[in-house]
Symmetry: C2
């Protein structure tokens, strides 16, 4: 360890999962903010909204009627970014214009029939139902010969481009392995070949020893702010046992997954006493028929808020042209999240 | 050319400047939008704002007073993300926690004393003044032994995290070469070594032949929507002559650079009749003392708007976890921009 101070001085950190660097400028959060303010989500939503195309019994685009579902509900996205029947083909001009047809499927997962809930307001049992759907979907889609990667994710909150507040996530599954999981495959494989253990097994061991970036844990999972987090309150949710995908989790591990998601997202909501926006998603092994012993399932949470319910971090300018950059240290963010209670603020208010 | 239709079917495109792919889902722009709406910038700003810390004669943070400048004005950012005196040092734990001190400088460039202007509303001569400042700054900062890369950029509009509407850009200059220019160096070098011409020389030749993605040009520059554009109306501004950095531009090329920036940003404002937000910036050779014949100066414009002055593209969820994705084709975007007049809508209204 050198003498320079990570908490005070500008520095770069390396992301071993992607092989890329980011810039950390700890002192910069002190600057005054006269820029855009977000509208915090203070909406009181009804348990059932007749105008919502995700509520049970309602009609979606094209006249399809949702069943009167009582738990989770999965359907093919009516405006899918990927379709299974896309014709093959490619374009190639001088090695510089290169395109190829892409096929796949896009699905929507309703987490609950209740229009007014979000993950942190659902019971652990109900979230366990969502984990089970993830496993079923991964098993089904991953088994298809035309699907080599399955991306499960959630956009929560208007500021994260979520177009409907009904609690739901998405799955985009496709023929090729997209950029980020492809990078993570390369990095994890190199580490596994050299050490015979997954990269995230060894990383978790370091974090459990140092404790400074751990937010919470349970018997089977740990949630931490990764050393290389780019978003202010970004977290990484890791199973202690290295598994390649969600279908390999044992029953108790699935329960514990639901538990840690619930407790983490309650802390998020409590941080700024607002329904905390984020994009979150699972990273799992490609379903390309290879073994992938290097892959260690994990879940990323990328929340944009920085200072309050209304002031977010903008990844713009320098970040779009050069490098991600953050203004508060991951250690500070972890401490803030660690200090928060695990009872949802709405329940304390009530 | 294969028979599949780029204008209709989901496909992937390759970005030869970064070596990465993106997903294009042309049909998806048809989906209804019930998500976040941006507040368009309809503010009528005064030519001078006594509360603006960038206006001439006003006091900034820490009591510093701006001079009564009449053209451009450059100063060291009062809340710099990078500082020249950062102590050396590094952290390394198990090859997985890796950090190192970073040093550099951050500066602000006021484009005009007029608080109420933006680049598209300035004269070509005034924009030429901005180009000259870019060249001076690149020359000065790039000559420093402790600076190996100079990032010049602008965040325009609240939605792009701009914290003050006074027309201004920034420079972040630093010891290491950040991720994106480092990738572009690798890709351009590989191409140059193989072909003996810059990648962007050959790319430009293809685009001038095909014309479908060209938006406008002049004697020395071309503005086009790159084949691999990720943002809906993203453009790439290219000099016809391959130069490594802005200091190598001849007088007439600098005038023509100002001309194409003005005409392109007027088209942007006219697209949705709003002050069009974007992050834009120059990519130039690293100033690391090497020759870099492979480098071809260019300017990226990354504007977030998609459908109107109030509906933007969100790079979230799938995009943060997997791959950039776009909903309209680059060819369609270029056509829209090509059809617009080059007289600013505010002047037509007046
Ligand atoms: O320096 P500013 O204008 O205060 O801040 C803006 O630009 C910076 C550089 O792109 C970003 O890091 C900030 O998130 C953004 O709000
Ligand atoms: O599919 P939705 O919810 O309509 O759209 C949202 O999620 C997608 C996947 O992350 C993004 O491509 C869109 O920009 C975003 O608005």
């Amino acid at each position: 360890m050198a003498s320079f101070d990570l908490a005070q001085q500008p520095h770069r950190r390396f992301n071993p999962l992607t092989g890329e660097w980011l810039l950390v400028s700890p002192h910069r959060a002190l600057r005054p903010w006269q820029g855009q303010q977000e509208a915090p989500d203070r909406s009181q939503r009804p348990a059932y909204d007749p105008g919502c195309y995700l509520c049970p019994g309602n009609t979606r685009a094209g006249g399809i009627v949702n069943p009167p579902y009582t738990g989770t509900f999965v359907f093919d996205n009516d405006f899918a970014a990927l379709t299974p029947d896309a014709p093959h083909g490619a374009v190639e001009v001088g090695g510089l214009l290169r395109a190829e047809a892409e096929s796949g499927l896009a699905r929507v997962i309703c987490f609950s029939p209740r229009h007014d809930l979000t993950l942190p307001e659902m019971t652990t049992e109900a979230i366990r139902g969502v984990v089970d759907v993830w496993a079923e979907q991964f098993a089904e889609l991953g088994a298809r010969p035309d699907i080599n990667y399955v991306q499960i994710f959630e956009n929560k909150g208007q500021v994260m481009g979520c177009s409907n507040p009904h609690p739901h996530g998405q799955i985009w599954a496709q023929r090729t392995v997209p950029g980020d999981p492809a990078k993570e495959t390369v990095q994890q494989r190199a580490y596994f070949q050299q050490h015979g253990r997954t990269l995230l097994t060894d990383y978790l061991e370091i974090e459990l020893r140092e404790q400074t970036r751990v937010v919470l844990d349970n018997e089977h999972w740990v949630a931490l702010v990764p050393f290389w987090a780019a978003w202010p309150f970004e977290t990484l949710v890791l199973p202690r046992r290295p598994v390649q995908d969600v279908t390999q989790l044992r029953d108790a591990e699935k329960d514990a997954f639901a538990d840690i998601i619930r407790r983490l997202t309650i802390r998020y909501d409590n941080l700024f006493q607002t329904s905390f926006p984020y994009s979150a998603g699972l990273h799992q092994r490609p379903t390309d028929g290879e073994a992938h012993p290097e892959w260690h399932l994990h879940m990323h949470f990328f929340p944009p808020l920085l200072r309050s319910a209304t002031v977010r971090k903008f990844m713009v300018g320098y970040e779009m042209l050069a490098n991600p950059q953050r203004d508060i240290t991951p250690e500070y963010a972890a401490q803030r999240l660690r200090e928060l209670p695990e009872v949802h603020y709405k329940q304390t208010e009530a």
